[in-house]
Every structure is written in structure tokens, then in C-alpha cells.
Amino acid sequence: MKPKMKGLVASVLLALGSSQAHAATQIEWLQWFAAEQNADFYDTIVEEFEAANPDITVKLVTQPFGKVRESIVTNRAIGVGSDVLGLNMPWTSEFLDMKILEPLDEYLARDDKGFEVDRLVQAPIGKINGSTWMVPLNAFPFVMHVNRGLLQKAGFDKAPENWEELKSMAIAISALEDGTSGIGMPFSSQPPANGPILTFLPLLYTAGGRIVDGIEPDFDNPDVVKTLTFLQELNAAGALAPGAASRTGGVDLEEFIAGRTGFLISPAVHARAIVARNPELEYELVRVPVLNKEAYRVHGWELGMAADSKHKEEAWKFISFLMSGDVNGRMAAAASALPGNLDALGEDSGEDPIFTAQRNILENDESVEELRQAPKTVASWSVMTEEIQSMLAGDQTPQQAASRVQARWLELLN
């Protein structure tokens, strides 16, 4: 072989060899988190991981929250599912029925992961069917956001602590002037039609109530009826913002940010948007007013792994990276939430009053998460929404609404 030809062959072999050596495994991460925050921040996190793991690349797939659930199901059905999944706890039961999720017990038992299991927020890692299916990227309680300016204008100097105070203050704020309302209730049928779990459940939990008994629907119990009656009383007294049946969660948040409602019950993660969008608002974050139990609906962004992923080891490596102290802390801070890994709690974060208020709620009140095991959860929201709409329109009593939801929910299961 001539020297020139030898050189050419060697170059080709070298190029092939080097390309083989650098062929990285690509994993896909489907989530909505980057859509709700700074997408660049997520790109940076992915780049950090790839720099530390040159044999793995991560394809970040970002979709709106309302789209992710159906994408997980349909992508998996046609065999193009992602490896790492952003999850919402209420989706758990139906995803387990469809065998979408990989049990994480074996991975969590390993020593080389970047976090301690007993330092994670516990609600998402509780076992269902004998296994753990997700880990918490972050956590936040459902809270009440308060417009102190409107509250003071209505003659009150502190936020409501119980249902009676909430009612009287909301009525007073609604009576202030045209365009102000005490509290908004987002019971629109528009997707995801999740108003009941945003506002009704947090109130119900402070009455010690639940909507699920084990894994069975239990909507027609006295605590549910009591909470529905409270909503009806607020409505009858003019304390609710008009148009609850066409009000979406997004509109509810926007109306509060614009300073037109006195109170907003929603995830604490909204605090950052409220403060950033309207710095003039005299804002305070408090626990949801209590009937007889200091309890809160715990929520968060979770991570899981697809059961049919072909790159489970790489996917776990990435999850482990996201859950490690430093990274998890930064991701939680970016979302104004508590980290899923409690070792990532910073010492200086206690200076922020919003963060301190959240932390106090998380540390002192009872956390409730019952939607992970609830059957047909998402479909049940629509049913609750429709029956509550009908109740607020005066077409049925709270007891009838509760019974109708229970009957329709059971019907969904058959």
C-alpha cells in the first residue's frame, strides 16, 4: 500500500474510532417545568450534567402542563416515550394502571446516588402497590395569598385565620368598590378544569376532610358537604368574584396579581410570579384559613422513569443528578419552592418572608396528599367542577352536589 493510501485508511479508521468513542447515549426528559420558569436555566442544568457525564446527552422536551399528561400516555402507546418524566402526583394511579412508570426501589437502595432517601419530602415517595414510583424535585404547600392593601381598606389589619374571618373579610372586600372581590373560585370547565383541587381541597383539608377512602371515592361525606356549604355561603354573600363558572386558575391568578381580589388560594409557587409581576402589591403569604385542623395540601414537581425506557441507567444517573443537594437547591430556588431534597435547604433562605412562611406551614401543619391513589383523578376533577358549578348556580344543594359527584365518580370506574 502506498504511503498516501495508508495515511488515508488510517485517518478514516481514526475518525470512525473516535466517533465510536464519543457516541453518547441520548435520554429524553419530558416536563413542563421549563415552560413555567426560565427555560435557559434548564438548558444550563442539562449542560452541567452533560459536562459531568460526557457519555450521556439529555434532550429537554418542554410542553405546557396541560399537555404533558396526554403526551406521556400517547407517546408511550406509539413507542416514542421519554426516559425521564416530569410527573404530577394526581396522575400516579392512572399511570400505574397503564404500567407507564418504573419502580424506583432498586435505584433508591443504591449507595452511589447523590442524596439520602430519608431526607426527601416524603409524600411522593410513599409506596403504592409495594413500590416507590417517583421522587420529589421540589415541594410547595397550597397557601392563601393575601392582598393586604385591600384588607386594610376593608378595615382589617391581619389576614384571616379561620373560615369565619375569611368569610367576613371577603364580604367586606367585595363591598369596597366596583371591580374588587373577596376571593376568586376558578370553577371553569376549561381544561384542565382543576378548580376543585386548587381551592376546594385545601379548604376541605382544614376541616379534616378527605375525598378518597383508601383507593375508593368518598365524596359524599359530611366534611365535604360542610366545605361545599361554606362555598355556597361565600357565593350567596357576594364574597366570590363573579363568574366562578367561567373563571380559570390562570385568570384567578392574574386577577389577584392585578389587585382586584383580596385572597387567592393556590400553590405557594405562585408567590414569585405575584411579587415579580406586581411589586406594588402589599402582599402576604399565609396558611389557608382553618376550620378545625391546621393542614395543607402538599404539592410539587416530581420525577419518574419510564418503564419502557431503553436507557434506565442513564435516566437514573440524570435523576440522581437533579436530586443532588446543590442542583436540587438551585432548581427549587428558581421555582420559589422548597427543595425535594431537604439537605438542599440553604441557611440564608430563612431571611425571605415568603420562604419562611412556607417553611413554617410545611414544618408545623399536617400535609395531605390523597390524589396519588385516587382512581380516575383527572376525570373526577371535571365531574366535581360541573357539580360545583351547578350548586353555585343554585340548581342543587351541597348535599346533592356531593352525592352526584360520588355517583358519577363511581360510574367512571365501571
Partner: protein, 293 residues
């Protein structure tokens, strides 16, 4: 002989790629949806069971389906009538003999609703119809209502509101189609009618409508087909609510598929939409072939 046959077949060879792509894109999804409707429950179950026409029987006994079918009929007929009325009036106005520049401006402005996406239309109308929105403010200011109305949240008003929104969104297509029809009517017919002493309504009824008849029928059928299966506008504006007062077949199908994860039942509802749309399409094609002959 063979060469002659090959030469005659040449045009069909050119058609083949297009026919293949169209056939694949249309027939495969169509076949899958029909197939899914015969199983229980596809996608969710790894091994779905063949149930024949059971899903169809279940659907016919489901009051939710009949309610959605009724709402679809109301929404479709109401929308098409709205499109035709508003489209006809505006087509005649923008066909009027006014300053050409003014005419161009009006034509451009009036066609705008057509170019907005359903998301933009839905969001804008939600803001307009909000209890604190412009519409309620205007109605309260002139004393027509004392309390703000929840246009999209009141079961008695929601369908009417949807019809207004749908009419606003859909009239430009009719307007443009009728405008081209109006411009093709010979002016001699109107001159003859003038000589006979016909007034505006006489001319409209005895000259304009007969001359536009082929266009009206074709365009109305086309509008019927499109509106019958309209999904995004309804879903993004009311989500089928409040309750199920604005639930139409397309939103029911979506709800069954992506909220309830009942893909077989969703496919069954989709097949019925397909069947009804196919009837409208046949009528349209028959009308088109009649016009050609």
C-alpha cells in the same frame, strides 16, 4: 401496442406518488380509528379485547352522547345561519360603489377575524365577555343589565355566546365567497330591474339570490362540514361547560380520549362524526358536479 399502452398510462404514473401519500395519510389513520372503535380499551390495555359493535351500542344508550349531538346540531346550524346572514350583509356592503380606497380598507378590516387563530379568538372573547369585561360594562352603562352577566359561565347564555363568537370568526369566508359571486352578476340584470321599477329588496330577492344560489348552496355545505367538526374554538372558550351545556361531539371525543383515557369510546364518537361529515361531503360533491354540468 405495448408502447401505446405505456404512453396512455403515463399520466397515471405521475399520479401515483400523490395517490400513495394521500392514501397512506388518510387511509391508515382512518382504518386505525375504525379498528379502535371495535376494541375495549385500546392504548391503555396492552391486549385489547375485540368487542364488535358493543361500543356503538353503549354510545347510543349514553345520554351524554345524545346531548352532545344535540348541542352539535344547535351549534352547527346556528353558526352557519349566522355566517350566512352576516357574511351576505357585509358582502353587499363591501361591494357597494364607494371610494375604492375606502372599499379596500373595509374589505381588509372585515376579513381580519378569519386570520386569527382559535387561541387568539378564544382569549379575546373571554376577556370581552368576562363579568368585568367590556361587553358587560357597555350593557350596564346603557342600562340594559343591572348585574354583570357570566356569558360563558351561565348555562343559559353559554351556547348563545359561543354562537356569537363562531359567527364573528366564520363570516369572512362567506363574505369573500359571496363577494366574488356578487361581482360576477351582470350589471344589466340590475339595470333591467331598475327600469321595471324594482326596489332594493326586489332586486335582492329576484336578482341577487337566484344568481348567487349555486355559491350559497356550495359554501353553506362547506361551512356546515367545517363547523360540524369544529373543536378548538369550543374547547378553548368554554371547555364544553358550564356543566355539559356546550359539549359538542368533537369536545366529547377529546374528553373521552385525553381526559378519561377511554380511547375506544373516543374512536367510536369520532367514527360517528366521520359518518355524518361524510354525508355532508357527499351532498357537497353532488352539488359541485351539478354545477359543472
Amino acid at each position: 401496442m405495448i408502447l401505446k399502452l405505456l404512453r396512455q398510462a403515463t399520466p397515471y404514473w405521475f399520479l401515483l406518488p400523490g395517490l400513495f401519500i394521500l392514501g397512506t395519510l388518510l387511509s391508515v389513520p382512518l382504518y386505525k380509528v375504525i379498528e379502535y372503535s371495535l376494541y375495549d380499551n385500546v392504548i391503555i390495555e396492552p391486549d385489547p379485547t375485540f368487542v364488535g359493535l358493543q361500543n356503538y351500542a353503549d354510545m347510543l344508550g349514553d345520554s351524554g352522547y345524545w346531548s352532545a349531538l344535540f348541542n352539535t346540531a344547535v351549534f352547527t346550524i346556528g353558526s352557519v345561519v349566522g355566517h350566512l346572514l352576516v357574511g351576505t350583509i357585509l358582502a353587499m356592503l363591501v361591494n357597494a360603489d364607494i371610494h375604492p380606497k375606502a372599499r379596500t380598507v373595509f374589505r381588509s378590516l372585515l376579513i381580519l377575524p378569519w386570520i386569527f387563530t382559535a387561541v387568539v379568538v378564544a382569549l379575546n372573547w373571554q376577556l370581552l365577555l368576562n363579568p368585568f369585561g367590556v361587553v358587560n360594562y357597555a350593557l350596564q352603562s346603557i342600562g340594559l343589565v343591572s348585574e354583570p352577566l357570566d356569558w360563558l359561565g351561565d348555562p343559559d347564555l353559554a351556547m348563545w355566546s359561543l354562537l356569537i363568537i363562531s359567527t364573528w370568526r366564520g363570516y369572512p369566508f362567506i363574505m369573500v365567497s359571496f363577494l366574488s359571486g356578487l361581482q360576477s352578476i351582470p350589471s344589466e340584470l340590475y339595470e333591467a330591474a331598475d327600469i321595471d321599477g324594482a326596489n332594493f329588496f326586489h332586486k335582492f330577492w329576484h336578482v341577487t339570490v337566484p344568481q348567487l344560489k349555486p355559491v350559497i348552496y356550495g359554501v353553506a355545505l362547506l361551512d356546515l362540514i367545517w363547523t360540524f367538526q369544529l373543536f378548538p374554538l369550543v374547547w378553548l372558550t368554554t371547555g364544553g361547560g358550564p356543566g355539559r351545556s356546550t359539549e359538542v361531539l368533537s369536545t366529547l371525543t377529546y374528553r373521552l380520549a385525553f381526559v378519561d383515557f377511554e380511547f375506544s369510546r373516543a374512536s367510536t364518537a369520532a367514527v360517528t362524526i366521520l359518518g355524518i361529515s361524510a354525508i355532508f361531503t357527499m351532498l357537497y360533491l353532488i352539488n359541485e358536479s351539478r354545477n359543472r354540468t
